[in-house]
């Protein structure tokens, strides 16, 4: 496809369950970001990949959150032992280059809405 694709679009998890959220970035994009967006808030940075390398995971809220991008393309955000405060929209974005030059537009997917009950 032409854009960033995320799946599933909606996920309901019981508290304590593990979930895995998938992101298919735009083909050829080097950079990949994960963001968390709570209701009524702006997106909050979680983590950043440059190809398969996770260069920044400073935004991950706890060690229950884990992200990977093993082949430098598709990425998975995993949340273990989900809690109610994890309920949010999880957005993935990709960008063509490594950010060393500006004008590096990030393209966002539609997000996965996670509801923990």
């Amino acid at each position: 496809g032409a854009g960033v694709s995320q799946s599933p679009r909606y996920k309901v998890a019981k508290r304590g369950q593990d979930v895995a959220l998938r992101c298919d970035p735009i083909s050829g994009h080097v950079s990949l970001f994960w963001y968390q967006q709570a209701l009524g808030q702006g997106p909050e940075f979680l983590t950043y990949f440059q190809n398969e390398a996770q260069l920044d995971k400073s935004g991950l809220p706890s060690d229950r959150f884990f992200a990977e991008r093993p082949e430098g393309s598709v990425s998975t955000l995993k949340i273990q032992r989900t809690q109610q405060e994890d309920s949010a929209v999880y957005l993935c974005a990709s960008s063509l280059d490594q950010g060393f030059s500006i004008d590096t537009e990030a393209f966002f997917g539609q997000g996965t809405r996670l509801t923990v009950v």
């Binding site: 960033v4 950079s31 970001f33 963001y35 967006q37 209701l39 009524g40 808030q41 702006g42 997106p43 909050e44 940075f45 950043y48 440059q50 260069l55 920044d56 935004g59 929209v89 957005l91 974005a93 950010g99 500006i102 004008d103 590096t104 537009e105 990030a106 393209f107 966002f108 997917g109 539609q110 997000g111």
Partner: protein, 114 residues
């Protein structure tokens, strides 16, 4: 579906009027800024960007103004249309230790009145 802008500041404008949405950013070293539009149930969509060496940039019906002295951005939408109704976020690109990220502002919900 739920509105992404449920608790955000709201700007209401009449259809056909001009809209001005403001944003304050936090890092004086930021070099690049983007305005995003987010409709309910969708991800942020790029509208316009501006570099720090510019004060103004124009697109189709949109203009972004940058005031680095007070770390302020504004988005002007000319002849606002119903399809412009959405939440608008500014984002600054922050470079740190060989990596980068986009930091988003709090957002403004734009409502266009017929």
């Amino acid at each position: 579906g739920e509105s992404v802008g449920l608790h955000l500041p709201t700007l209401s404008v009449q259809e056909g009027d001009n809209s001005i949405i403001n944003c304050a950013y936090s890092n004086s070293a930021s070099d690049y800024f983007i305005w995003y539009k987010q409709e309910s149930g969708k991800g942020p969509q790029f509208i316009i960007d501006i570099r720090s060496n510019m004060d103004k940039r124009q697109g189709q019906r949109v203009t972004v103004l940058l005031n680095k002295t007070v770390k302020h951005l504004s988005l002007q939408i000319a002849a606002t249309q119903p399809g412009d109704s959405a939440v608008y976020f500014c984002a600054e690109m922050l470079l740190t230790s060989g990596t980068y990220k986009y930091i988003f502002g709090t957002g403004t919900r734009l409502k266009v009145l017929a």
